[in-house]
Point group: C2
Chain length 255, copies 2
């Protein structure tokens, strides 16, 4: 809860103006995102009330409201009537299922069991460097993990993280943690995953996947390549997943 929020250089678009001005609520939205990025308020914490923010920024409460509304619709913030507005956290089932799209063909989604198979430091390949906006050869943490549902191995994820952001991340640390990986990243490294882009393809299981998942070679699998972004749209995770989809499917909504 720092007091470091900027005070006043906000300017509304002027009629005869020259350059591109943005609306007040957009400027406030940007300031709030910067504050979140700086970690002024941690995931799960309340941000200042709307009237408080209106005072700080010297705008009306309705203008703050519009900025917060948009951030809430983007799931960076969560409004709770009567209580306040809170920073989103992955330590909640509701948020988690936004990023774990695998659901059972029958029955309700169950929590997955995670098992870390490997965690090491590598040098960024061209592909990894491009995805994470690093330079080839930069330090990268490479994690391989197995997800099981109801004891059935179902997903192998290969995860690549910028070494600079995840200093001291080890297999031991990962294994000592229960709960969602993104929650772990949040509390242990201050990295909040806010948004992701995925590309899905069908592939055949190679011998490696066959062994890890206990399935015949050439079983059709869903391959999911994900790039995750944190507040300022900076990519901070490349994840390549192999999903077995006989008992589970990837659910999606088109709006």
């Amino acid at each position: 809860m720092s007091e470091a929020l900027a005070r006043k250089p906000l300017s509304v678009a002027s009629a005869t103006g020259a350059a591109a001005f943005s609306p007040l609520y957009q400027q406030i939205k940007d300031l709030l995102v910067q504050a979140l990025d700086r970690g002024d308020w941690k995931p799960g914490e309340a941000i200042p009330s709307e009237t408080e923010l209106a005072l700080r920024f010297q705008v009306s409460q309705g203008t703050v409201r519009k900025a917060v509304d948009e951030l809430a619709s983007e799931n960076l913030l969560i409004r709770r009537q009567g209580k306040g507005t809170f920073v989103s956290t992955h330590h909640e089932a509701r948020v988690r299922f936004r990023f774990l799209r695998l659901a059972p063909n029958q029955g309700e989604p169950q929590p997955a069991e995670s098992q870390i198979l490997d965690c090491k430091r590598i040098r960024a390949s061209a592909e990894i460097a491009r995805a994470l906006e690093l330079k080839v050869g930069d330090s990268v943490v490479a994690i391989r993990r197995l997800l099981s549902f109801a004891g059935v191995p179902t997903v192998v994820d290969d995860i690549y993280l910028p070494g600079a952001l995840f200093k001291g991340l080890t297999a031991d640390l990962l294994n000592g943690y229960v709960g969602p990986l993104y929650g772990f990243f949040e509390t242990e490294f201050g990295v909040s995953m806010v948004r992701a882009e995925e590309k899905l393809r069908a592939v055949n299981a190679d011998s490696e996947m066959s062994v890890l998942l206990g399935i015949p070679q050439d079983t059709p699998m869903l391959k999911v390549d994900r790039i995750s972004f944190t507040y300022a749209d900076r990519p901070v995770e490349l994840r390549m997943g192999h999903y077995v989809t006989d008992r589970y499917h990837y659910r999606n909504s088109l709006n």
Copy 2:
């Protein structure tokens, strides 16, 4: 452009009230959706201005604005500054790519060529009846079509539509039409697709798919089962697609 919009029985939540009241803007939103469902304004047409609607409903312009804002964020309406607010239509590339998620691994998305392989009347199976909320045995239109990108056969879709809504739909009609299928449904049958739920799995190509798509049998394919909904959240299409994903992938955003 009917004048059939209800006039006044709107009531705001009263303090000592008994049952569950909904906010004014929600009631107006519901009325607007009903109007869209009735076809008061067709896709592509402008709806009345905010001030006009405020007059009709006897509420302030700001309240109408909030209702329209939400419908715009759900992509039922599109705002155009200075011009008006318009009913969404599938006769626009922007809308189309919301429902066609296949993108080339390299280069920009190209329009697909559609070829109708079959179009017939069948009786609803249990599966189809469940998906479309029909009774087993009800009349259903079954369409099979092939999508090609740059001449390469890539997608086979099996599409099932409620017969009652699509009277007179024939292969000839379909073949005489250029453009997106959902645009065709819109203009020819007044059925607007607004939202869809998809389930994705990896499967192997069977002999049928192998022949249709010119690929080896057992090629891994992406199977996409979709249920599409129109305004009042009524399911009006079941679509089962088989995608070849060597040169293309299914793109998705997690927010």
